[in-house]
Each structure stands twice: as structure tokens, then as C-alpha cells.
């Protein structure tokens, strides 16, 4: 049986490399949204939960898996992953239920009760009290079972094998692989915050206010969930469990070897264009050297918003939103879409920078 165990682990290690992992998550997202009616029943949810727990118990016997999975500071990642999965299931299944009710001409679950009002005491304050008591018990238990870790005293002379940001920033740290710090660490967080704040002002859909639904706001849920689940939660999971020393990739059952060396042969667009295609050296003029990248990026951010209007879906969005809202939305949309695009360009073509002007530390 040992060989079977080992080969399953090998396969899982292979399948968790960032390219396959991310692709699987993206396809899973697309599938989960498209066929949400299939898995919103309690049964598939229970099967998935039990299967994942069985897998976890089996995996915990592996010393390499066990080491990272049971680190006290990584417990929140499990709570987050299971929490997001459960509440995603809960909201979608309530939404699907409401969609059915509304399609049958009946009021949805919330509508059926929203006109009835109950006294806050006791109906609300008692639920709150029970929540507080249960949660306090949970926190005390968590505090007893897991000790807060404390490593060696701070020493800026001793570099650890891998310096990780706090876990909630690991999605951004993962993006450091594909983008320079000024984008991954400054511009993107800025866009995320501004984009989140802008959501209510961009979303002009009057439906879906105050009740769960999938049908009434399918596109909105698809996009927001893609950002939240795929680009944020899934990357945190990757960064916590599959990024080891030197931020190198390690499969979940792989030993975190501090001496692992991964060759990097990444090239810039300018090098591909001038050296590989034209067979001449890089021009000394910066603008001429980076002309292809500059055109590509200007096209992406400048021309694409208008060109996308030729697609019926974007045309409909434009008509619903109007000029100003549409352009704010499409800039946010394109910035978000640039993440997977850049990731696949790196994986597919070893592409480093589209525009590379190290003279001014301006790399995209």
C-alpha cells in the first residue's frame, strides 16, 4: 500500500503547482456558478465536506503535510477556507431557492417575512447573546489548544528561509511573483479598496436588494466572487501551504528544502521583439526599445474599453450604466483581468515585463 500512498501524494504534489492549481480553481469557479443548481442541495455539500475531511485525516499522517497544516498560525487559513466554502454554499443555495420561489410567482424567503416585525427583545438580543456565549467558548478553547507562537528574538542579521507577510496579505505577496512591488504592493491594493468602495455606485441593477438570489444578479456575483474566492482566498491558500523557502513552490506533501533552486529564464517583451524576432540588439532609446510594450499596454487600458463595446454583453452594461460608470467599471475590470493574464503570460511564455524601464523603475 505504501507505493499507492506515495504515488497519490506525487500526483497531488504535481497537480498543486501554481499553473494547474490556479487553472483548476478558475475552471471550478466557472463550473460552480454555471451549474450552481446541482450542488446547492445539502447532499453534495455533505459529500464534499466528508470527502475533504477524510482526505485531511489521511494527509495529516504525512509528516511534510502535517508540519505546515498544523502550525498554530495556519489554523485560521483552515477556518477561512472552510468558512468561505460553507457560506458560499449557504448564500448560493438560499439564492437558488429564492430564484425557484420567484419563478413560481411566490415571494422569496426574505420577502415572505420582511413585513412581519418581531420585538428585538427577545428575538434578536437572545440570538446575539447565544452567539456571544458560543463564540467566547470557541475562543477560549482555541486559546487553550493552540499556544500563541513565539520565534527567536528579532534579528535583522538572520534572514529566515522564507519571509512571509501576514497571511491575509499572502494573495498580494503571490502577485509579487508576476508583478513588481509598485503594482502588487501599492497600485493593486489601492485599486481593490477603491474598487470595493465603488461597487454600489457602479452596480445599477435595482434587483437583488436585501435578499439572496443568483439569477437576478448572476454577473455581479460571478465577478465579485471571482475576485474574492479565486484571486484572494485561493491565492492566500496557495501562499500559505504551497510557498516555501525562497517563495518557491512546494507540493503539499513535499519537504520544504531550503536549497531548492528554480531556474528563472524570464524575458521581457522588448527582448522578444528586438532580439528574438527582429534579430537586432535593443535600441538605446528607451521609448523605442519599449515601443511594443507601450503599444500593448495603451491598447489594453486605452482602446479595449471602447472595443469591448462591440460585444453584446459589454454593450448592454454600457447602456445600463452610462458613460462615466462604464469607464470606471471597465478600468477596474481590466485591472482585475490583468492578473490572470499576466500569470498565464509568465507560465506560458516566461514573460517577465511587458514594459520594462528599469532606468525609472517602471516595470509592468
Amino acid at each position: 500500500m505504501d507505493w499507492l500512498n506515495e504515488s497519490i501524494k506525487e500526483v497531488i504534489n504535481f497537480l498543486s503547482n501554481p499553473v494547474i492549481y490556479f487553472t483548476v480553481v478558475v475552471i471550478a469557479w466557472w463550473w460552480l456558478m454555471k451549474f450552481h443548481r446541482v450542488w446547492v442541495q445539502p447532499k453534495p455539500m455533505k459529500i464534499a465536506l466528508i470527502a475533504s475531511l477524510v482526505f485531511l485525516v489521511w494527509a495529516l499522517f504525512d509528516p511534510n503535510f502535517n508540519k505546515e497544516a498544523t502550525k498554530p498560525d495556519n489554523i485560521p487559513i483552515w477556518l477561512m477556507s472552510y468558512g468561505v466554502a460553507f457560506f458560499f454554499w449557504l448564500s448560493i443555495s438560499r439564492g437558488a431557492k429564492n430564484d425557484e420561489l420567484m419563478a413560481a410567482g411566490e415571494p422569496n424567503l426574505e420577502k415572505a417575512e420582511s413585513d412581519k416585525k418581531v420585538y428585538t427583545w427577545p428575538d434578536l438580543v437572545y440570538s446575539e447573546l447565544i452567539c456571544i456565549v458560543a463564540f467566547t467558548a470557541f475562543m477560549v478553547l482555541w486559546g487553550i489548544v493552540f499556544d500563541a507562537p513565539l520565534e527567536d528574538p528579532a534579528n535583522s542579521g538572520v534572514t529566515p528561509a522564507v519571509a512571509k507577510a501576514p497571511w491575509y496579505f499572502l494573495g498580494l505577496q503571490e502577485l509579487l511573483v508576476y508583478y513588481d512591488p509598485w503594482i502588487a504592493g501599492v497600485v493593486l491594493p489601492g485599486f481593490i479598496v477603491v474598487g470595493l468602495i465603488a461597487i454600489p455606485y457602479m452596480d445599477t441593477n435595482p434587483k437583488g436588494n436585501g435578499y439572496y438570489t443568483v439569477k437576478d444578479r448572476f454577473d455581479e456575483i460571478w465577478l465579485f466572487g471571482f475576485g474574492f474566492v479565486v484571486l484572494w482566498i485561493a491565492l492566500i491558500f496557495l501562499g500559505t501551504f504551497m510557498r516555501g523557502p525562497g517563495w518557491n513552490f512546494f507540493g503539499p506533501f513535499e519537504y520544504w528544502d531550503t536549497h531548492k533552486v528554480v531556474p528563472m529564464n524570464n524575458v521581457n517583451v522588448s527582448e522578444i521583439f528586438w532580439i528574438k524576432i527582429l534579430g537586432v540588439g535593443l535600441p538605446s532609446n528607451i521609448l523605442l526599445r519599449e515601443i511594443v510594450g507601450l503599444v500593448l499596454v495603451s491598447f489594453y487600458m486605452g482602446a479595449l474599453p471602447k472595443l469591448l463595446l462591440k460585444i453584446a454583453k459589454f454593450k448592454a452594461i454600457y447602456e445600463k450604466m452610462g458613460f462615466v460608470r462604464y469607464y470606471i467599471f471597465i478600468v477596474m475590470f481590466l485591472v482585475m483581468a490583468s492578473l490572470p493574464i499576466k500569470m498565464y503570460l509568465r507560465w506560458g511564455f516566461d514573460l517577465k515585463y511587458i514594459i520594462s524601464i528599469p532606468e525609472f523603475m517602471f516595470n509592468i
Partner: protein
């Protein structure tokens, strides 16, 4: 009548009891209303709430838990402040002392795990509000306040990360603060920063850029520790408290827990 019941009835008629509680036991509509109205904490709630809105399956209780965690963090944090000195000499040793000298102590554990949990609950709260479309008019601006609170929650956690002054702390903050150095036009390694100069004199350099502002120095040191300590214990909680008040107030003013129109 049973003597305990008699005593209880007597207590409730005393001047002291009546001066504290302005209503009888809330088992009838009048006293149920008064219980909420005459209590400064409970009056954050309306007297009556939508039935759909009090369901756990609707709210997931995540906003409430986030607030409760903020209270847990405040209480445990205040207690921890009695034992902790934010200096290079004492910071790490004080944490060691807390671990070694307090039998069965879980104060720091609850503070640390609570911080993790608060980040998760605030995300799930945002997720719930999105999935129910509760940011839609008239609640747009309250969503904006919520986003700021979410960012501040992460900053609270981030500033607290440095305080134990162990290897995990300074290297995690190093990763984060290196980002600040890459701020466009504001960090010394940011794009375009070197263009900002008068003659040969750089306007933005490692002694005044965004990273310097964050760390209170070129490197993570004692000034950083103090800066993060003050941000963590006073400055950010102060802003968060104000915004929470605003957030809750607007939930009420915008019609309470959202429901279908």
C-alpha cells in the same frame, strides 16, 4: 408564595433597583420596547426588527461577531498593555515573561487568535452584505465605511504583528514595508521617484519616503516598534471606534437590517 420569589419582588421595588432599571421584566410589549429603548447599548437596535433580518441564515451574525471580536481584542489588549513595554530591551522579554510566569495563561492566545478570527469574520461579513445586495441604495455610503473598516481591521492586525518582536514579526513587517518603498513617486524604489529632483538634489530619498514614514526610520528599529505600538493601541482603534459608531448609526438610519423592498 415562595420566600425567594418574595425577596425578588421586594428587591425590584427598592429605590436602588428602580433607579437602575426603568421597566419591569420584558415579557410584555411595553416592557420589551422599554428594555431596548432605555438601554444605551441595546438602543443601537430598533424596538422591532424585520423577522427575515433576525435569522442567522440571513445575517450569519458576522457583523456582530466582528464587533464582538473588536471588544474581545480591546479588553485583552488593554490587559496585555499592563505587561508589555514597546522597547527593544523589553518587548520580547515581556512576551516571554507572559508565557513563563502565568500558569495556564491564554490572554495572548485569545488576543492573537481573535485578531485572525476578526479578519475572517469581517471578510465574511462583507461577503454576506454583497450576496444579499445590501449595499444597494440607500446603503451605498455605509458600504464604503464598511470597506474602510475592513482595511483598518487588517491594519490593526498588521501593526500588532510587529509587537512580539520575534523573527516572524520583523520579517513579515519587512515584506510589507518594502512595498511602501515601491510607492510610485513616493517611495525611494518606486517608479518615477528619481525624476523628482531639483538640480542634483532628490526630493524623495530613503530619509523621507513612504517607507521611512511607515517605519519611522530607514530600517525596522525601536522607533518602528513605538510607532506601530501607538498605531495599534491608540490611533487605529480610535478611528475604528468612530467609524463603527457611524456604521451602526447608518444601519439604523438607512432602514435597519436590509430586506426586500
Amino acid at each position: 408564595m415562595n420566600p425567594l420569589r418574595q425577596l425578588w419582588n421586594y428587591i425590584r421595588k427598592t429605590q436602588i433597583w428602580k433607579s437602575i432599571f426603568r421597566h419591569n421584566y420584558p415579557d410584555n410589549p411595553r416592557d420589551q420596547s422599554l428594555a431596548v429603548l432605555t438601554n444605551v447599548f441595546l438602543h443601537l437596535h430598533p424596538v422591532k426588527t424585520r423577522k427575515s433580518g433576525v435569522r442567522m441564515s440571513f445575517t450569519w451574525c458576522m457583523g456582530g461577531l466582528t464587533f464582538f471580536l473588536f471588544l474581545i481584542e480591546s479588553v485583552t489588549g488593554i490587559l496585555l498593555m499592563f505587561y508589555y513595554r514597546p522597547t527593544l530591551e523589553f518587548a520580547y522579554n515581556d512576551i516571554i515573561a507572559l508565557r513563563e510566569h502565568v500558569p495556564l495563561g491564554i490572554l495572548r492566545e485569545i488576543h492573537r487568535w481573535g485578531a485572525h478570527a476578526m479578519v475572517i469574520t469581517v471578510w465574511l461579513h462583507m461577503f454576506r452584505v454583497f450576496m444579499t445586495g445590501s449595499y444597494k441604495p440607500p446603503r451605498e455610503f455605509n458600504w464604503a465605511i464598511g470597506v474602510i473598516l475592513l482595511v483598518l481591521t487588517m491594519l490593526l492586525s498588521f501593526t500588532g504583528y510587529l509587537l512580539p518582536w520575534d523573527q516572524l514579526a520583523i520579517w513579515a513587517i519587512a515584506v510589507g514595508s518594502n512595498m511602501a518603498a515601491a510607492t510610485p513617486l513616493g517611495g525611494v524604489e518606486g517608479p518615477g521617484t528619481m525624476l523628482l529632483k531639483i538640480g542634483d538634489v532628490s526630493l524623495v530619498h530613503s530619509g523621507n519616503d513612504a517607507k521611512f514614514g511607515l517605519l519611522a526610520g530607514r530600517f525596522i528599529g525601536e522607533a518602528t516598534l513605538l510607532r506601530f505600538y501607538v498605531l495599534h493601541c491608540i490611533a487605529i482603534p480610535f478611528v475604528v471606534t468612530l467609524l463603527i459608531a457611524l456604521h451602526f448609526w447608518r444601519v439604523r438610519k438607512d432602514g435597519g437590517i436590509s430586506g426586500p423592498l
